[in-house]
C-alpha cells in the first residue's frame, strides 16, 4: 500500500499572494469537495456498519456472537490468519534478504512475479486451487483415493488466503532493506558474526517497524479475504465459513444485525490496522 507522506503543507499562509479572495474560494472549494466525496463514499458506509449492528440495541448485538455458526466462523478466520501470517512473514523476510542484499540476474522478474497476486482477481486466486485440487482437478483423483480434501476444507482456505496475501510482507520489506543498504551487515560479517547472528542482531532490529506494518496489513487482508475464499470454501455452515462468508450468509438471510455485527469486528480490525500504520510512520520509518 502506498504510504501517506510527511509534513505536507509548507506553511501556506506565510507565502506571499496567498491571502487573496480568489485563493480562499479555491481553497475551501477543494476542501469541501474532498470532504463531501469522502463523507459519501467512505464515512457514511463506515458509520452504517455500527449503526446497523447496534440498531436493535446492545443485547441483540451481543446475541450474534452466541450463535455457534458465527463463533465457528470467527475461529476459522483466526486459525487461517495464524497459519498464513507467519508463513508469509518468513517468505517476506527470505525474499527481502535475497532481493535487497544481493545483485543477481532476473531480479526485476522475480519482483514482478512476487507482485503477481495483487494483479489477479480474487476469484481467479481461488479458482486456481479448485483447478488443482478440486474433483476434476489435476490432483483430484489422487486426493480422493487417499481420502484427503483440500478444496471445501481448511487447507484450501489457507492456500487461497496465502496466495492473496503473499506479497504484503515482502513488498514492505524489500524497498526498506534496499534503502537501508548493506554496510552494517557487511561490517558485522567482517567482524566475525555469523549469518543468523547478523540477521537477528543487525537486520531485524533495523527493519522491525516495516515488518510489523507488513504483518498487520497481511493479517487484515487474510482475515477479510472474500472472493478467493468464497470460491474454495464450499460455504458449509459452522465448518468452512470464514467471517466474511458468514457476513454474506447472514446478510442474504436478512439478519442485518448479525451481518453488521460480524462486519463491525472486521471494521474495528481495519481501524486498528490504520492506527498501527500511523504509529509506525510516526516512529520515523518511511518508504521513499
Amino acid at each position: 500500500m502506498a504510504r501517506s507522506l510527511p509534513g505536507a503543507p509548507a506553511a501556506d499562509l506565510n507565502r506571499p499572494g496567498q491571502h487573496t479572495w480568489m485563493h480562499s474560494i479555491v481553497r475551501w472549494l477543494f476542501i469541501g469537495v474532498s470532504l463531501t466525496f469522502l463523507a459519501a463514499v467512505l464515512l457514511a458506509p463506515l458509520a452504517t456498519v455500527f449503526a446497523m449492528a447496534l440498531a436493535k440495541g446492545v443485547p441483540a448485538y451481543l446475541h450474534t456472537f452466541a450463535d455457534a455458526d458465527t463463533t465457528a466462523a470467527i475461529r476459522l478466520t483466526l486459525i487461517t490468519a495464524l497459519i498464513v501470517v507467519p508463513v508469509n512473514t518468513i517468505f517476506g523476510l527470505a525474499a527481502a534478504w535475497a532481493i535487497a542484499k544481493f545483485e543477481f540476474r532476473g531480479k526485476s522478474v522475480l519482483i514482478t512475479l512476487i507482485d503477481l497476486p495483487l494483479a489477479v482477481s480474487p476469484v481467479i486466486s481461488g479458482m486456481v486451487f479448485v483447478l488443482l485440487f478440486g474433483m476434476h482437478g489435476w490432483f483430484g483423483v489422487w486426493l480422493q483415493e487417499h481420502d484427503l480434501s483440500i478444496v471445501f476444507a481448511l487447507p484450501g482456505i489457507v492456500l487461497a488466503t496465502m496466495f492473496v496475501t503473499f506479497p504484503y510482507v515482502a513488498r514492505e520489506l524489500i524497498p526498506l532493506m534496499q534503502q537501508l543498504g548493506n554496510d552494517e551487515e557487511e561490517a558485522a560479517i567482517t567482524l566475525g558474526a555469523g549469518g543468523w547472528m547478523t540477521f537477528f542482531r543487525v537486520t531485524l532490529p533495523k527493519v522491525r517497524w516495516g515488518l510489523v506494518y507488513g504483518m498487520v496489513l497481511c493479517n487484515a487482508r487474510a482475515m477479510g479475504e472474500f472472493g478467493a475464499v468464497s470460491v474454495v470454501s464450499g460455504h458449509i455452515r459452522g465448518l468452512t465459513n470464514t467471517m466474511p462468508l458468514q457476513i454474506e450468509i447472514l446478510y442474504n438471510e436478512y439478519n442485518f444485525v448479525g451481518a453488521f455485527a460480524v462486519a463491525s469486528l472486521l471494521t474495528l480490525l481495519a481501524c486498528l490496522t490504520l492506527i498501527v500504520k500511523t504509529l509506525v510512520e510516526r516512529t520515523g520509518y518511511r518508504r521513499r
Partner: protein, 278 residues
Amino acid sequence: MSFKQPSILPGFGLTFGFTTAFLSAIVLLPLAALVAAGTSMHWSEFLHVVASPRALGSYRLSFGASLLAASINVVFGFIIAWTLVRYEFPGRKIIDALIDMPFALPTAVSGIALTTVFAQNGWIGRYLEPLGVKVAYTWLGVTLALTLISMPFAVRAVQPALLEVQRELEDAAETLGAGRFYVFRRIILPTVLPALLTGFTLAFARAVGEYGSVIFIAGNIPMKTEITPLLIVIHLEEFDYHGAAALGLVMLAISFVVLLAINLLQAWGRRRHVRAAR
C-alpha cells in the same frame, strides 16, 4: 556476467532458493493450472464460452464500470491529494490516514455497507430516490463500489508527485504574469501527469477483478448487472471448470496488459523526471 555478483554476505542460496520454491508452489503452479485448463479446450469451445452474449455483457459492465470508476478516481484523487498536500485544515491527518480505509476494510463489509447507505431507504439513497436516481442494484451501484475500493490507489499515486511540484516555478510563473489556470496547465499538470496515469491504471486494475463489494450492490442480473468475476463463480458452481478457466484466462490476459502498461508508464515517468532534473 555470472548469475550473481560476489558479496561477503551469506544466505543467498538459502533465501533465494526458499523464495523461488515457495513462489513456484503457491503462485506459479496454480496459475499454470489455470493456463493449462484454459488452453486445453478446443478453440471453438473456448470461443463459445468467451464470446457468449452473457460473457460479452459481463465484460461490458466490468470494463465499463472500472473505466468510469478509475476516471472518477483520477478527478477526485487529484482533488483529495491536492487538498491534503497544499492545505492545512482541522482533521487533515485523520483524513490522510482514512484514505487507506478501503484497502484495510474487507470487501464484503464495504459491499453491505454501501448497499445499505444507497438503498432506497438508506441514508443517501432516500434523497436520490425522489430525483429518480437508483444506485443500489444498478450499474451505478457497481461503479460506486469500484470507485470506493480503488480510491486509495489514485490518491496515493498522485500525492508524492504533487509534493515534488516546485513551488518556485509556480511563483516565478505568477510573477511573470501567468494566470492560475495557465500555471496549472503548464507547470502542475505536466509534473503530475505520469502519476495520474499510474493512479488511473492501478485503480482500473484493482476494479476489474473486484468481486466482494460488487456482488452485494449489483443485483447480479445476467446481461445487466453481472460482472465477469461473478460469471466465473457461476461457472465454477456448475462444475464447468473449463468455462471458468476460459473466462479467467481472458481476465488474466487483460491484467497482464494492464501491468505492462503500468511498468511502461512508470519508466516514462522516470525518464521525464530525469530529463526535468537535468
